[in-house]
């Protein structure tokens, strides 16, 4: 090696290494290695390590937050399902209640209609009875007025009441 160095320092061969170049490059490289190892590289190494740890921590935190969000979502979905179920139940219940009320109202309305119809019929019957009674009186009066005019004398009206009643009863029976 020494002989090569000595030869190179004096040789004119451009390929052979020159001693100055060997010494300075070795010196430069070893100084660089020493400085890098002691001064320049540790901060970078530490920084890269810290960043990796931070990224790992952030990823873990994000993963945890995601899991928590998933749990919350599952809870919310469960609550929403329960609420939907409850609302469906309430609607069904309200619908059933409404059906019952409706049926009751219809029943009561029908009963009222029947009752009203019955009352109306009774009123009609009573009115008819009253009219028939009045008509009987009027017919009897007319018949007696006519008879008095024909006979040219005053008749005892009360003595003819049974006859008139019997006549009206017969005519009523025959008209039925």
């Amino acid at each position: 090696m020494v002989s090569i160095l000595l030869a190179a320092s004096q040789s004119s061969n451009p390929i052979l290494p020159a001693s100055g170049e060997i010494i300075w490059s070795v010196l430069s490289f070893f100084v660089l290695m020493a400085i890098l190892a002691k001064v320049a590289f540790p901060p970078i190494s530490k920084m890269l390590k810290d960043r990796s740890e931070k990224i790992r921590g952030d990823i873990e935190a994000a993963e945890q937050a995601r899991n928590e969000a998933e749990l919350d979502r599952a809870k919310a979905e469960a609550q929403l399902g329960e609420a939907r179920h409850e609302s469906t139940r309430l609607i069904d219940e309200a619908r059933k209640t409404a059906e019952v009320i409706k049926a009751d109202l219809v029943k009561r309305a029908e009963a009222e209609v029947v009752e009203m119809r019955q009352r109306a019929e009774e009123a009609l019957d009573a009115e008819r009875q009253r009219l028939v009674f009045e008509l009987r009186g009027d017919i009897a009066d007319l018949a007696l007025d006519l008879a008095e005019k024909i006979l040219q004398e005053q008749l005892d009206r009360s003595s003819f009441d049974p006859l008139i009643a019997s006549f009206l009863a017969e005519s009523e029976a025959s008209s039925k």
């Binding site: 001693s19 100055g20 490059s25 660089l32």
Partner: protein, 257 residues
């Protein structure tokens, strides 16, 4: 012919053997090559120092460049080849990579235009450093006898073949490796340097002959393309040197064969 005759191609000695700035004639002669080596050391240190000082959570600028380099060496070289045990060698491999890369890049830096790695005086000591390192690591990890046995005696090979293979393994592991490392880097950078000189000299000759409008674009375009290519080669050769270092040290740590 007249154009070629006008090409002022400098003698090979002139583009490789630079005259000393000072300490000329002594063993410590300081020339352009040694200056680039020293500057590469200073720049590498400043890059790492500046990057380490910024400590920003989101890296930018110099910090980004250095961190990208360290990250690349960590993942693509150390973890891939040596595994997690190799992380102790990360500062050494980062220093080696950046030192070679910056030395190489001086090839395309105006005024300098000379990679110190185009000189055996720079690549050979680097290769010898690697050689010593992987042998020392091997002996330390496996013990002297075990390391040399594992290094030169391939396992599972018939005894008769060992007569042939053992000398080959000795040759390849302990002699060829350092020289291959040194000559690969030196040869690639020297070839690139000479190519750039060739096209620069050709462009200059064309320009001087006043026919630049017709012919200058071709050599000048080649010079431009090759400059870009040499930047790529600079990074590639730094990567190759570093990855081979990692392979050799990794083998020594684990026990090859």
């Amino acid at each position: 012919m007249s154009i070629l005759g006008a090409v002022n191609f400098p003698p090979i000695g002139e583009v490789l053997n630079w005259k000393p700035f000072f300490l000329g004639g002594s063993a410590l002669a300081f020339n352009k090559v040694t200056l680039t080596a020293v500057l590469a050391t200073a720049i590498t240190f400043l890059l790492f120092y500046a990057a380490g000082k910024k400590k920003a959570l989101v890296p930018t600028g110099v910090q980004n460049v250095v961190e990208a380099g360290v990250d690349f060496i960590t993942n693509s070289i150390v973890l891939d080849i040596m595994g997690p045990d190799g992380l102790v060698w990360l500062p050494y491999l980062c220093g080696l990579f950046f030192f070679i890369l910056i030395n190489n890049l001086f090839e395309v830096v105006p005024v300098f235009q000379m990679p110190s790695t185009a000189r055996m005086g720079v690549t050979l000591p680097l290769a010898i450093t690697v050689w010593v390192t992987f042998i020392v690591v091997g002996i330390k990890k496996q013990g002297f006898a075990s390391y040399f046995k594992h290094s030169v005696v391939p396992s599972g090979v018939p005894g008769a073949l060992l007569i042939l293979l053992v000398p080959l393994e000795i040759l390849s592991t302990f002699l060829v490796r350092p020289f291959a490392l040194a000559i690969r880097l030196f040869g690639n950078m020297l070839a690139g340097h000479l190519l750039l000189i060739t096209f620069a000299a050709l462009s200059e000759a064309m320009f001087a002959k006043s026919i630049s409008l017709v012919l200058l674009p071709l050599p000048f375009a080649m010079l431009t393309v090759l400059t870009g290519y040499e930047i790529f080669v600079s990074a590639l050769q730094a990567f190759i040197f570093t990855i081979l270092t990692a392979v050799y040290i990794g083998e020594s740590m684990a026990g090859s064969h």
